[in-house]
Symmetry: D2
Subunit: 354 residues, 4 copies
């Protein structure tokens, strides 16, 4: 499938990570995380985040998020987040399942970034309702957001402050954390625990890994018995070294940032190019590796028929044309971006009638 | 770690499967199982089992078992199985968690193989108890068993007949299915659906894969919405092609049988050699790739100090010496077996005093 | 607590039901529903609904709703309902807990009555999202609604038609079903199964019982094993006859309708009176026994200080004055209504400044 | 149903409790436990137990047990108890459901009383197994036991000591707590928290109430958010005063002890009489209100045909005759006991052939 902007998860595995997997295949090794690579990962992760962390490799983002939340909340709790958060709309009820019933409470925000005021108001409402309502349990922020935007550290801090004021821990869904990080230009510590984040779902799969995500606790004490949860949900691998190897390759020597930088650059290029396309309207700031743009129906249809891969993204706020989502990845060739832009710039029959 | 008989999951990935993983890394591909390899796997699995199956790749045996059971039973149901079944003792409550509360009801049997009479009696008891008791929900058989023994097809049929008579579906935990199969010398069909098995957890990880298990439904209609369960539990991979590739390599060209044959042969060799060791008592028939043997404490201690890896396996039925478990795999070198036997045959100080 | 319009559940038990409880206390009786009264209830309920029903007495509305839904949906399913439905906002996550993770999907509607178009659109969205999203599982309608309005049978039919078209069963939360029924003037059958309702949570506690609700299945086959769910959730009483006695007294001789008629009449009286109060705005049609009205802050404060019991009901749509909710019950004395209206009609200091 | 020894839950409601229910029906009252009676209950319970307790009325023993356990353990935990504990065999999987997957680990003990050694050994095994096994989570003791025997306070203390040593809280299933208490002749405090019990399921329904059980926390801090669990599982009544009224009547003025004393006395009378019956073998000490006795089949059949109500209780340890269970209650008339004994003493045709 060529010129594919459907998602960053359609990308292959990057060379360095594939090499690391192959290298890890050197004879027998203790299973279930007793191996050297897994131990090494703890050290590396603690260095990178500038504090002692507890890190648990898993292999899907849904598992990382749902496991993290199950550690933070009770079955009768509420998790505040954006209304289009992955945990709300894309995990088939995994958070509810893993937590035994907790509710994700989606808050609206045009750019994907919820505000301290919204969170405070939702918590206040729950407290008014008392025992009849789910109890405020946790705050979950997507970084980068589902709309390709990125919270600034001070925005995260302000949100976390509201959460902490009410005793709520803060989870960050970092399926695209590296993309956010290179946009921010700050340290991993500043983007997380220094801004009040307690637990991070750190994604690598969308950014070049085969199957590597991790749940990172910035206070290891909070991870008590987490290994049991991972086991009980079937997410403890016997040959765990092969996930740890991916994460080590990802985090070591800046591969994660390098990959993310390319992905973001390709998205910027797309955005820049689309600004010059007649009838195109960029719908969100392009902070990371996703571009939301409205284009005339004729153009969209033409691009589809030419084999460009992307999703139509129906939005009630878009009254003219069709909204689509374009996602770039570490492996998106600049050529594909240019071909896409060139194709978008052409005149298509019927375009006027949109 | 050398001369390791701790488990078949300490083994590395076999070359053919590693090659398949590398080969699958060829550009972008549809995610979440929309890829060609996953589609191909359905065809291959149906051919191998001689009937149209629905097959769902996952990456741990615990996930395969717990997901399979969650499809078969209700939260208020009982799952009948052996008291040392993996689902009872080694999955940290995964079956209970995935099913929302169903109980595994472990039945005793010295050789790991439960009998139709036991199952009938347990079901009758439950029916007597009525609404207060969990309801008979499913039968789960481990093949090979946790004791390294193997059910004959007619034994499976007789057990399945009791289950079916009461409307219970039959699950087979085939973490070591290939080892059982080569012992039986029958077809995959005869070992499963032709003997009344409805759903199989088909393991590959212990037999040479990196991370590949599958839930196989012999009646695809029974798999209705199973894909949602897999997603909700975080077990749907975005880059699923890399699991499917492993299973294709595993099942194609008889690799799974070849690997299992070697593992079984090494276990036979161990068993045969141990029969000649003074003070050794084989505790179970060695049908597959596990050997349970009682040895004098001095011998066991000496083997441990020489760096042989294995588990002590405390058994109340063993009154003289120490029971240990030895597991062989596709990658166990004949040398290691011979070194082990040679070491076991030596005389050790204190041996008499056991 | 006098002149209490907080909720219909602050009311005492009506005489006929208390008598029935006392009468049921006549010597020993089979436990767990093996008694005569429980058997009798099945017959009476089938007569009243004009079809053979399976009826399961429980003792809270939350239990009735959550149990009913757990019978209808899977853990990975969505339940479509109004955004302020009791199952969404007032049951502390019970539906999620009982179903093992299903999501309530609240749809907005100013008058509490969702529309076929909304449901169709939500289902279409879910189908577009595929395996990543919860699957359309059931439709749940509150009758009367949380806003004191009542669906007409043809409105229920139209909603049920959409649900059925997609294979979804229809649940009705009838915590105030009797209040709806007397408003509609139709038969219980017309209000339920003849309009496409599959399962009804039939409330009695708010309408004069001590602790009596029931889950009513209009197709008894759909109730398969429901008794296990009731037991597993701790909702099977040993002395069940005392709940069945309440329901028999409630349904027999029209007590339920008589009680509801009085409650509705008192609400109408309130509404009628409030229409004549300066500065008062009725916010919803008063179909059943709830009145939502906006009054000047000074009036509301004065009523509170005079000991009238009611809840402030913050509504973003109310820009002038304060919204409050008044609930009447079978036991609300006409005097209390008149006293309330008289008090509301008085002039209070500061009223102008609202 | 006359001369009914099937269970103590077939008994009617005792007069004092029925009066209390009627008396509680005096006008409107705050719902959901905001009423005076519920508040009063907290005070009374704290007095009776000689320490400040948090007490939560519910209406079934299954709910009390399962809710208590869900507060104590995690989904990946084990609950150690006797193999015939109510939570293992009679609650249709409620503990598993409420806890989200925790396993009840039944330990054998002929007289229903598990030992510290057994518990220590089970915990040691779990610790050996590590992450693969459920984690030791709680100890649950039935008092009186399912075999009608009663733990002495020092036996409870010794068991609790083992639990505490491993950080496990201690639950007591006191469905027949009053029967145990009058047997022991100690204070409620000595029987519970002074012996190391953390949470008590206090039963009243079997001992004269209509529907009244309570979860009692001896350290109120341990009850944090328990009210949410009660709500989420549908066990928070709107008209809670009617349960609180029962518990107040039960605990005040010694009614609970008086009722239990009668029940126990009737069981003693049965036991004493049965000792003189030819062919009868008492199978357990009769500490509380249950009698397990083996009688010749001809006698059992004759008693059944004469309309005496009781359960056959198949026991593999009984090789001659048939084991039956007889339960007495606060309302068992001395006449019924004497009629039973008289009937048992008669000679029946076929008796020899047993």
């Amino acid at each position: 499938m060529s010129r594919n902007f459907k998602s960053d998860n359609v990308s292959p595995v990057c060379d360095a990570i594939m090499s690391a997997i192959n290298a890890a295949n050197n004879g027998s090794a203790p299973s279930y995380g007793g191996d050297d690579l897994t131990r090494q990962l703890e050290t590396v992760a603690s260095e990178i985040f500038g504090t002692e962390v507890a890190i648990f490799p898993v292999t899907t983002g849904t598992a990382a998020n749902a496991l993290a939340l199950s550690q933070l909340v009770q079955p009768y709790d509420a998790v505040y987040c954006h209304e289009t958060a992955h945990i709300v709309t894309d995990e088939c009820g995994a958070p509810e399942f893993f937590t035994g019933g907790a509710k994700t409470m989606g808050l609206p925000a045009a750019d994907g970034k919820i505000t301290p005021r919204q969170v405070a108001s939702a918590i206040a409402h729950a407290e008014d309702m008392g025992v009849h309502h789910v109890k405020p349990g946790a705050l979950s922020l997507s970084q980068a957001t589902e709309w390709g935007t990125v919270y600034q550290p001070d925005e995260v801090s302000a949100l976390a402050a509201v959460a902490k004021q009410h005793g709520l821990p803060v989870h960050m869904d970092g399926a695209r954390f590296a993309n956010a990080l290179v946009h921010l230009g700050c340290t991993p510590a500043e983007a997380t625990w220094k801004s009040g984040v307690d637990v991070l779902s750190l994604g690598a799969t969308k950014n070049g890994a085969l199957c590597a995500e991790a749940v990172v606790f910035f206070d290891p004490a909070r991870a008590r018995d987490f290994e049991r949860r991972r086991k009980q949900t079937g997410h403890l691998w016997s040959k765990l070294r092969f996930v740890s190897a991916q994460l080590l390759a990802y985090l070591a020597d800046g591969l994660w940032l390098e990959n993310a930088r390319h992905a973001n650059a390709m998205a910027s290029l797309l955005a820049q190019g689309l600004r010059g396309v007649e009838g195109a309207t960029l719908l969100q700031p392009v902070d990371a590796n996703e571009v939301f743009v409205a284009l005339p129906e004729a153009v969209v249809a033409a691009l589809e028929s030419q084999g460009f891969g992307f999703y139509r993204w129906p939005l009630s706020s878009v009254t003219s044309g069709v909204a689509i989502r374009l996602v770039t990845s570490y492996s998106t060739p600049r050529d594909h971006v240019e071909e896409f832009l060139e194709a978008a710039r052409r005149k298509y029959c019927g375009e006027k009638s949109l």
